[in-house]
Every structure is written in C-alpha cells, then in structure tokens.
Amino acid sequence: MTFTSHDIAFVGLALLTLAPAALVVTLRNLIHAALLLGCSFVGVAGLYLLLNAEFIAAAQVLVYVGAITVLILFAIMLTQKLADNRFAGAAYNQLGWGLFVAAMVFLSLGKLIASQTWPAMYDAAPVADTTRVLGVQLLTTYIVPFEVSSVLLLVALVAAIVLARDEEPVSVPAHLNEIYDDESADQTPTGGANA
C-alpha cells in the first residue's frame, strides 16, 4: 500500500477536522471551543477541496469560518461573564446517556458503511470547472431549492431582527421630551414622571 500526497493530505485534514471537533464538545471554556470550531470548519473545507468541490470549500470558509464562528463568539461574549464560575461545576448534563447514544450512532453508522461495497477507486477526471457547472445548474435544474433557500434567508433575516430588537420604545431626545412633558402635564399632574 503506497501513500500518495493525496492520502497524506486526507489524513491531515481528517485530524484537523475531528480533533478540534472533539475538543469543541468537551472544553469548558466556550471561547476556546468556538475558535476550535473554526479550525474544524477549515478542515472540512480542505476535505471539500480533496473532493473537487472548490465552490463549496470557498462558501464553507466564507460562511462557516467567517460568519458563523464570529456570530457564535459574539453570542458567547454577550451572554457569559468570563470570570463567572457558575459553569465550573459541570459543563455536562446526562453525560452517560449522551455518550451512549453518540457511541451507538457512530457504531451503527460504521457498521452500515462497512457492510456496503462502495466503488473502489475513482480514476476519471472530476468535473472540470465545478463552479461554472454548479452555477448553471443552480439556476436551471435546482432552481426551486435555490429560490426556496433565498426566501428562507429573508425570513431568517426578519426573524432575527424581530427577536433581537430592543422592546423598549426609542428614547426621545431631550428637547422633544420637554414638549411631551408640557402636553401630558395638562392631562395628568404627574405626567412627566415616567419620562
């Protein structure tokens, strides 16, 4: 069995994917976990390159590494006091059952994969310019999922704004506030108290 450079790259990228992923689900420090999640995403992007999916690899780096990791980091920084030791006791819940279910899923998936005979080797040249072909097919053959996902993005955008928006009314500038106080003072004596 000879190892080609392709194989070496594959093993390295597999390690770059799985080792940070294992740390992501075990580390107690969530900032470290989020940064390692970015590492794992980079490893998956490399595996996409090995599978001749250049556009997906670029999208993976842009969307996952660039956007989602940063979004998760912001969420951690907005919700956690780093000096807070409240999570020091246990970062886990139901550790035994979780381990059991995950191990069972992995073993059954592994058994399923091992029980099949897959095509041994590919020796054909892959699709020459994947990005061009993918672009054409996204707008012809796969136009429906493409359009549906664009609508989904719009819905998610609106939903995220509605959820994250501050429910408090917009604060009135000082000079307008005085006018408001004068008007409300006519109706109720304590009208300006809630301003």
């Binding site: 992501v24 998760i72 886990y92």
Partner: protein, 119 residues
C-alpha cells in the same frame, strides 16, 4: 485511502457523533448550537463525498458502464450542500437571536434552568 468513499463516510459519521454528543450533553445553549453546526457539517461532507464518488460524472464507471464523455454531470450534492449551508447560516442567526432574548429575560442560557415551557 483518499481514493475510496468509505473513509470520508467514517469521518462524517465521527463528526456527526461528536456533534450529537455535544448537542445532547452540553448545558450551555451556545454550546448546544455548536454541536448542531458540527452535525450539519457532517451532513454536508456526506453530500459532497457521495456526489464525487457516486454522482453522475463522478466515477468513470456507473454500474460497470463507462460514462459518456458528452454527458453533462449533475452536481446534485453540491447544489444541496449550498442549500444546507444557507439553512445553517439562517439557523445560527435565529438560534443566537433566541438565545440572546432568553438571556435578556432570564439572565441565564443554561438549558437546565430554561424550563418555563415545561408543565
């Protein structure tokens, strides 16, 4: 090794199991979301790998028949990987907005303490 489909599927299965473990056991809601992102990545890796090895145009032979050179390959796995990436981005944005709203109201994102909807 990298010329076979099975190693990619094993890596994908490992990534999925790790994500499942994280989503099931972590107590912090953001960490649960990170586990879900790992699972979505595993699904994407499977889509791309299957498209490369089993998709039309991916292998030189399909059922022992040589693929015609003029045949236009379908990149179904790639197209749906794009959709999955879109959904993952939308899910992360909405999920984190929900987590921030919960944090504003309850001052905690520990999933054990967020039990208002339990009866």
């Amino acid at each position: 090794m990298s010329g076979h489909l099975a190693p990619y599927l094993i890596i994908s299965a490992g990534l999925f199991s790790l994500g499942l473990f994280g989503a099931l056991t972590r107590r912090n809601a953001v960490a649960v979301l990170m586990g879900i992102e790992l699972m979505l990545n595993a699904a994407n890796l499977n889509l791309i790998a299957f498209n490369r090895f089993l998709g039309p145009g991916g292998a030189s032979t399909v059922n022992g028949m040589p693929v015609d050179g003029s045949f236009t390959p379908l990149l179904a796995g790639h197209a749906f990987a794009v959709v999955v990436i879109t959904i993952a981005a939308a899910e992360a944005a909405v999920g984190l907005a929900i987590i921030l709203t919960i944090y504003k109201n309850a001052r905690t994102i520990n999933v054990d303490e967020i039990n208002w909807m339990r009866w």
